[in-house]
Amino acid sequence: MTDTKEILTVQNLDVTFARSAMKAVAGVSLSLGQGKVGIVGESGSGKSTLGRAIMRLLPPSATVTASKLTFDGNPLLSQSEREMRALRGNRMSLIMQDPRYSLNPVLPIGRQVAETAILHKGLSKSAARAVAAEMLDRVRIKDVARVMESYPHQISGGMGQRVMIAAMLLSRPRLVIADEPTSALDVSVRGEVLELLNELVTADGSSLLLISHDIRMVASFCDRIVVMYKGRIVEELSRLSDARHPYTLGLIAAMPDARHPVHRLRVPDRATFDATERSGSPA
């Protein structure tokens, strides 16, 4: 995969929450063409906030500033809410962590998938249902008619996430932000959900921003890895073996590796990272 045309450009993005002096995201710059980029960091590193800031989905208490934030030629920060709505779910979409919470508990599955079609394709209810059924078939759901009538609590987590993917990829967006799309799922289905996501974005020619704490998973899946720590990007790599920053090395060491089993996983040493952060350059 080569970055032929830039789809998303982020320059110097800051996010501050009201009443808090600390920046949740600080000075992040990032560019993304067609391809798959992974953002890695522990919880609280600002990676999810970054994803939502790009879609302008943060609560009103958050302030987002950037010297440049362009998606597909649209300056996102100066778009009106109405213009943003036309983009969301249509040309950019978000897959969240846990389908148990991200699916509306009291609406049947079919209507939740069809909603995207109603909103962006201007289809009638019945036409939207047909499109939704097609899409559910595409995410390999068997017995589509029955699933469409089901409620979220009646289906499994893995199926729920496939439903979410169906709803979010229905209009073949240019950019898909997947925020920990597999971490809430049963280990046995993580692989197939990721595989499915990969297959669909490749087929549709969408770009993928994969947000995760699992650096090995991201490495095996993405063309590029962006490592975030305390709201900043500390390193950008295309291969794990290029890692220099102690935080990245710490993240790698903290994850089990089937090829090099160790007796005990290492706990990252925060003092070193912070020291490196202060000195300004990777040791």
């Binding site: 939502r52 879609m55 989905l57 709505r85 036309a86 983009l87 969301r88 779910g89 249509n90 979409s93 978000l94 969240m96 962590q97 846990d98 919470y101 991200s102 699916l103 509306n104 508990p105 009291v106 609406l107 909603e115 995207t116 909103l119 962006h120 409620y151 609590h153 009646q154 979410m164 709803a167 979010m168």
Partner: protein, 345 residues
Amino acid sequence: MASNSETSVAAAWGGRIGQLVLSLFALIAVTFVIGRLLPTDPVGAIVGELASPEAYAAMRERLGLDQPVVVQFGRYIWNLLHGDLGVAALTGRPVTEDLALAFPATLELATLAVIISFVLGVPLGLAAALNRDSWIDQFARIISLVGHSIPVFWFGIVGLVIFYAGLGWVGGPGRVDVYFEGLVPSVTGMILIDTLLAGETEIFWNALSHIILPALMLAYAAMAYITRMTRAFTLEQIGQDYVTAAKAKGASPARLLFRHILPNISVQLVTILAISYGGLLEGAVVTEIVFSWPGLGQYMTSALLIGDMNAVLASTIMIGVVFMTLNFLSDIAYSMLDPRTQEKR
């Protein structure tokens, strides 16, 4: 699968009905105990102080007071089940007849009040939650704080002083003006419906001008509660992931509200509706006195003041039964409306 879910649903209903029956039984037991707490001597009250010991004993036997307490309680329940609540000293008629006259008036007042409080309270609560910390949120907060703190009987008096005596916008105490009284045959006992049935539009408007003020005053306290709860429910939903997901799909605020949030809180709103309805019945008791409204409250308090315990206890049971039934219905509504409480795979 189906039969399995049916049995579990039946079991849940059985449990709720069991709880309702137990509560009703407890209510009846409590009224029975209250009836026996009376410092006055019911036998003496009937036969008079000068009666001979034989006449006294005879009356005592006739009233069944010589029987053991358990037998008396059994007879109390037996009579209740047969609709025999005794004779009201207040009116000299069977209490059941009095209740049949008074209850529709209270029901009419409380129903109108619950409609008003819902129509005003739900939108206000939604608006407050969607515009958190804005002026409308502050307004809703003050409205509901005052509504939780205001003595409803006093509010009625203030309303009468301003809108009836001062401005003359509404009718005064009573259900209709004096010269309209007794002109409409009672069918349902609810005057707004009866006047419409009789085609008496003039009296209908007059009755409306009489009921609107007590209904509004009564609705206010319930509205305070409904506003507050609606706001809390909505805020709880706004923070949920599914709302973010719907936004990520490009849904508009109106769509978020009507297609996503409202269906999620509608079940809770139904519960709130039932609870407020019960609360309004209680509030009606004191409001009716201020507005000379010939309902249960008026009846019960008149009976209270002359120590007519038959009438007092019967009214208590009547209100209690309606109150508990409403709670029961709200429970049932919950299990019927929420897909999550229906069968699971």
